[in-house]
Symmetry: D4
Subunit: 248 residues, 8 copies
Amino acid sequence: MKPEQIKQLFEEVREGKVSPDEAVQRMHHLPFEDLGFAKVDHHRLLRNGMPEVIFGQGKSPAQVFGIFQKLAERGTNVLVTRATREHWEAVNSQFPSALFHEQARAIVLRQDDTNSGKGRIAVVSAGTSDIPVAEEAVITAETMGNEVDRLYDVGVAGIHRLLSNREVLQNARVVIVCAGMEGALPSVVGGLVGIPVIAVPTSIGYGASFQGLAALLGMLNSCASNVSVVNIDNGFGAAYVASIINRL
Amino acid sequence: MKPEQIKQLFEEVREGKVSPDEAVQRMHHLPFEDLGFAKVDHHRLLRNGMPEVIFGQGKSPAQVFGIFQKLAERGTNVLVTRATREHWEAVNSQFPSALFHEQARAIVLRQDDTNSGKGRIAVVSAGTSDIPVAEEAVITAETMGNEVDRLYDVGVAGIHRLLSNREVLQNARVVIVCAGMEGALPSVVGGLVGIPVIAVPTSIGYGASFQGLAALLGMLNSCASNVSVVNIDNGFGAAYVASIINRL
Amino acid sequence: MKPEQIKQLFEEVREGKVSPDEAVQRMHHLPFEDLGFAKVDHHRLLRNGMPEVIFGQGKSPAQVFGIFQKLAERGTNVLVTRATREHWEAVNSQFPSALFHEQARAIVLRQDDTNSGKGRIAVVSAGTSDIPVAEEAVITAETMGNEVDRLYDVGVAGIHRLLSNREVLQNARVVIVCAGMEGALPSVVGGLVGIPVIAVPTSIGYGASFQGLAALLGMLNSCASNVSVVNIDNGFGAAYVASIINRL
Amino acid sequence: MKPEQIKQLFEEVREGKVSPDEAVQRMHHLPFEDLGFAKVDHHRLLRNGMPEVIFGQGKSPAQVFGIFQKLAERGTNVLVTRATREHWEAVNSQFPSALFHEQARAIVLRQDDTNSGKGRIAVVSAGTSDIPVAEEAVITAETMGNEVDRLYDVGVAGIHRLLSNREVLQNARVVIVCAGMEGALPSVVGGLVGIPVIAVPTSIGYGASFQGLAALLGMLNSCASNVSVVNIDNGFGAAYVASIINRL
Amino acid sequence: MKPEQIKQLFEEVREGKVSPDEAVQRMHHLPFEDLGFAKVDHHRLLRNGMPEVIFGQGKSPAQVFGIFQKLAERGTNVLVTRATREHWEAVNSQFPSALFHEQARAIVLRQDDTNSGKGRIAVVSAGTSDIPVAEEAVITAETMGNEVDRLYDVGVAGIHRLLSNREVLQNARVVIVCAGMEGALPSVVGGLVGIPVIAVPTSIGYGASFQGLAALLGMLNSCASNVSVVNIDNGFGAAYVASIINRL
Amino acid sequence: MKPEQIKQLFEEVREGKVSPDEAVQRMHHLPFEDLGFAKVDHHRLLRNGMPEVIFGQGKSPAQVFGIFQKLAERGTNVLVTRATREHWEAVNSQFPSALFHEQARAIVLRQDDTNSGKGRIAVVSAGTSDIPVAEEAVITAETMGNEVDRLYDVGVAGIHRLLSNREVLQNARVVIVCAGMEGALPSVVGGLVGIPVIAVPTSIGYGASFQGLAALLGMLNSCASNVSVVNIDNGFGAAYVASIINRL
Amino acid sequence: MKPEQIKQLFEEVREGKVSPDEAVQRMHHLPFEDLGFAKVDHHRLLRNGMPEVIFGQGKSPAQVFGIFQKLAERGTNVLVTRATREHWEAVNSQFPSALFHEQARAIVLRQDDTNSGKGRIAVVSAGTSDIPVAEEAVITAETMGNEVDRLYDVGVAGIHRLLSNREVLQNARVVIVCAGMEGALPSVVGGLVGIPVIAVPTSIGYGASFQGLAALLGMLNSCASNVSVVNIDNGFGAAYVASIINRL
Amino acid sequence: MKPEQIKQLFEEVREGKVSPDEAVQRMHHLPFEDLGFAKVDHHRLLRNGMPEVIFGQGKSPAQVFGIFQKLAERGTNVLVTRATREHWEAVNSQFPSALFHEQARAIVLRQDDTNSGKGRIAVVSAGTSDIPVAEEAVITAETMGNEVDRLYDVGVAGIHRLLSNREVLQNARVVIVCAGMEGALPSVVGGLVGIPVIAVPTSIGYGASFQGLAALLGMLNSCASNVSVVNIDNGFGAAYVASIINRL
């Protein structure tokens, strides 16, 4: 509820169109719809003009379908992350144009193709195994109206591979870097560019990687100052942050 | 060494002005100066046009002074973080205009007052004890040419304090949120704005705060998607990231 | 064994009805029954007047049935937590009125509908995925004779959703708050009410949530002083604590 | 701002006493005072009728004095926790009746001797070394208007000491149990009573106690269902929770 | 190789029966047999007169059978811990008298019924779920020639159950205590007896039990000085230690 | 209170010497003395016939002296562990025969020289830096009436040093092994003997030793089955366990 | 790109054979081939003359086959680690001479039998369960052209087994030691030899082994100075390091 | 005791020069000297021909002097690591040629200038703050007879600084890389060379560096296969390993 609306309400009260009691009621009336298991929040949608997102993990196909249907009515893009093929089958029956990006584990319904970014987003990954997380970032960023460049398999133990593809970084306005194991790539990338780097630790590795903890700690301790970090395997979050930066 | 310089070099070789041997030598000649204990990197300075920064912790006053003097010659702003009064005294003798911000533990030499940000940066803190970290962010952001608003002591257990000061958030282009203990403030702020939120866990707390680990984990798991995180107590890093976002 | 009973015993000894030897024996005779695999403790039942509870996890349907049968004879309510459908089927054959609450993973046999609480208990949850833990709390609290209000999906990143439902909190005598990820909700709720808040971290999340550790640490470090904490996913324990508070 | 006040405001608008613009302004006017370094929140005071509390750790004597003076004006009790003798000296000059409880590390100004509890609070501690935390709980509970009984040095390795003092537990309405090392005492106490037990892990111990982590984990895993837990060494928090329970 | 054997060898050399070269060879000849995948060590058997033990976990039925067969030839008792039904079936075909203790996950071949203990061993467990670990201890201790008493389901939250069965403890020469969750039972038992208590943390619990870590830390920090600890779920190790103590 | 005493009480009641009311009172009367800050427990002393022990750490010299004086009256040996020179000076004024073992950080008052052990205890340490913990074990064991042999600086990286001193191990009835860093020594010693090995991890090391955690985990995972473990740096506890084993 | 090649390029420019623009292009032309999902790096191959290695875990049989085929063309040995039988079946169809070492979980294609090591590599393991990791090291070292000796099941609790096989260590130029549980073996081996010891912690163990963390920490804290450590279960890495040492 | 000596002994027995009893005695006579607090092990010295090393930390100046004096008699180099100026002053009085390397915290007595390495060792460090650890490695390696090159302040966030100094790496036979914070440098260096890289995590950093844990985990998870790791801040160990590799 914006200040103007509140002022409007006061004016209607002054004009006698609305009684004080009714006004108090209206102030508490906020536009929620109740699906029984999740309150869909239109406010957030209005607030930042971005597609609504469903976190698929742990939800049944029927639950995903229920929320999806509700959100799709608004005409924006709809994104399901951590989606399974079963989720997609539940959605696809009624939304045949919804696509399933298997590697990214994402369902996308494009209803709005506006390019809302002011530059390109580069998504960089260290190893082949980090690609699912990187793809989640790519699909998210694209669904949020950005142009995206991929630069995969450029881990720090073969630094010339990264260096020989620097132009991808130079064309970007924001960079997302996904890496597991020692998580060193964001530091190196951060040193090569003067733009924001969003680091995504991945759970790739074994033993002392402790499901991505090693990469996470590495990124938090990055000696490159333009690096900030999101949760382990959170390709979606990195792309969300990158998208709102790219709109500024 | 930029592609144009390389092309220029090839052209001089073609024209016979430079021999192949000399050209190879030149290519390896990179503009470092050697202070004995730290190689000052002018490249980074050129690359992103930001002031050079000295991490004061663990360095002797003499070391800080040596690096400071070298960097100050270039005419940019110079910032020393994690600085002590002893560091400042070493610097101040020769740089009387250098200021010591005690709460922020920072020394600043302003030689360049350009406003290079496109909007304002809001620095928000949860409790009184988080202020040193918040001030490090404020001083860093200001030294990097940004206009900054402070919003302090608005922890989540008194949510109305934050809500009644929302206009600070609404005027910002980027928000930095510093919080210790449970580290919940970035999530709440993230839900109120549609712009990037840089979260800084602080080491404030005791017992199960584990020197900021609780706050760090909380922020990494934020349910607000526009939040990214830097290291515990890293007010500088948060301001650095915010500054480069604010320049885009 | 209550002091009155002991005094009674001494009196019988004085009156010669009981010999000293027999009295010593009686004092050691405590009312246990031995089921072979678990000693059912009637004392606890008598002590606090609450239903006996079976922790279903790791027990076979036959074991659950055996204990259930024994406890049901006493006429109190019986609750099985962490129950599976298989547990319920084992119980249901002989106790057709026992209900299985699938989402709460709980079996309930109501034999006593006394309302023993003096006020209402509010059960609040942050996200859709926290509902199973919240429901365990709801079912437990109801089985223990309380009136319960649910307030679900009011996570801190959409703080207006919580604020617009404050009346649920205002009607409560005790509040249970279930949250995973960053676990920030109890702090915000704690700041809105002047009554006890029992915080339940859930294992919901991924990566740096470390199976609920992030939420647990967040809640232990809550800046709201009216918050105390139970184990991760322990909806039962929270409701147990809330119930004994609500009886005071 | 209570609903009645809002309704009042609407009525003044209807009656033309207040213009809509002014009304919007008033709604945003919340009763904060700005001390420069900490916003004193009268709302919280009103909300639960308890004394305001200053967390002394990390604050200078001057800061503590500044906040203390402000809060003392309201006529309620004032409590400083984690206080040092230096804090007290700063306070004592102007508030000669303020007492310093050295073992509890607490400063108390009694201005209100109302007994607001409905029963007694028992504070139990396992070892001699846990007493400072226990005393913090005692002083806090007393300052909040409760009658308190101490039961110290009744660790589980000498279980008869606890059992022979059961009457303290039986006279209580709420129990606070402080224990370091293995943190087992709350479980044993929890099994002896049918009332809420607030467990406080202390940082007492060495080696694998990990500054209270062992005790904390022990208490979170208590097999007694009436136990909830606060942060390590948080005697204040335990007493705060116990006090609001004791008022119900 | 015992000193007497070495002296014997020197004497044979002096007598000319053995050449120096041959003597050197003999000294390096140690009585191993090579099964290809595991060197069976008869020395250990001789050294302490105890049955040889096979750790079944991670071994195939064929591997277990191979080692079992080799060891059984020596006429001592043979014990397989962490055994599965498949292991037992592989063994049983050729050793029909070998028993499978399902709850203890142990296979036992009794070939020697000597009672080698000087007193009784009590095996105490906190909850129903700890019984498999306790049974591993019972079966191990019995196989090693001890008389064993069980005292199960006497957790600290119902302390009278333990107290009313103290005679089991009083009859013992060594006590083994198995407990998960908060792991408090060994401290209480340790305080009741003046004999060695071997504590076995179990992985029973959930959430902040961290697979037995909470119990382990609790036991290591026991305030009872007669407690020493073995690895999580290591019922075998506890019984082994108890057995060699009971032989002293 | 022993069963005979209870029977005696019943008899006095039968004989009319004691009224039932008085009998109930007597049953609750247990022989504690209250020093104000610590209840001295004579029961424990009687129970196991061992000297009373004061844990000096965190106690003031006056507190130590107060408890010491009380305990010394009983004529048993008195031991203060984690003692400082200041503790000793407070004690020494009145107890000139009390000795301060600086390396062991222990004060000992010998009033009873009974040898209560049935064999010798060997105390083995890995490195020079582990000696303080080893000495705490030695002094404790001697004060508890045992004959002790030291075997120091026999770490596993020079295995021949241990092997060439095996006779110390062979003469022992119980072995205590103190080691920091990787904590491997108990496993090797455990493999050389057929008697109980009490392992004491020490906090010696740096970096990834994590104040003794590495050694602790190593010892808990020992592949030698006759090893049990006490807390980090707990030389006292190891000697206490060894002493009660040596008395059996 | 080597300096000679660059000089060659400059000379071609001087001679007018190559234009400056073309020269800049060539400098950026690096010999990658793009398989779509992984850039095969011939440079690394050239750099150290070793076989290329595919980390099989998490890759589909088709992916493994694709990379394998590409690499096999170069005529060097090809190694797939963490390989499954499915991987091998995919490879075997076209490469019938590729062998699957099941215990080592490795596929090897020998195309080059050069012995490139200057001495022998000893691979030592503590227990039967560590053999898969040890075998990964053996197969890797052999594929990289080394002669390898196995010394298995020589854990520290039976130290004479290791000592009686010292000649294997004495014949080696580098030693690899694999151990789980307490991870003590590398320290003992390190003390017996004057050559490099590469320690491999394995995830063998249970409870407080924490999936190899105990062994890892033990090895990092080794009191033998000639020990360095690789990741948990990283038999491949240990053999790689050993191989390049053995070539020096 | 070498096999030849044993054979010699047997021969003397055969020849009747030595009786069997005496021979057994001699076999147990190993050349130790007992300083009271540390057994100096000449064997190790003989075994690998390297200087003896004293770990200074936690030792008194008198202890260091005592061991130093004993070792210096043998004519080899003597090194004290983790040494303080006080250690040096104790040593210097009698050994005026002993040097104190303050930054490396090392005392060196050169009595043997043999160059025993076959190539050069490069010591690389990431930041200015890592230099003390790097210097410990340099001084150790030099004392052990190696030629050493330093390459300092070449952290990964300015990757061109490392690349422009590659010739230092190319001239080396072994590389030691010291890095704190994210610990990424060894991976990058490992990718640039085909020789062994010994990685030393340093405790440099703050917050989520957890005293070097982040760097340690990063290095253990290195994607470069030629990297092995030593303990945090263990510059000595890295140089020791590098030295024995360089002698091969």
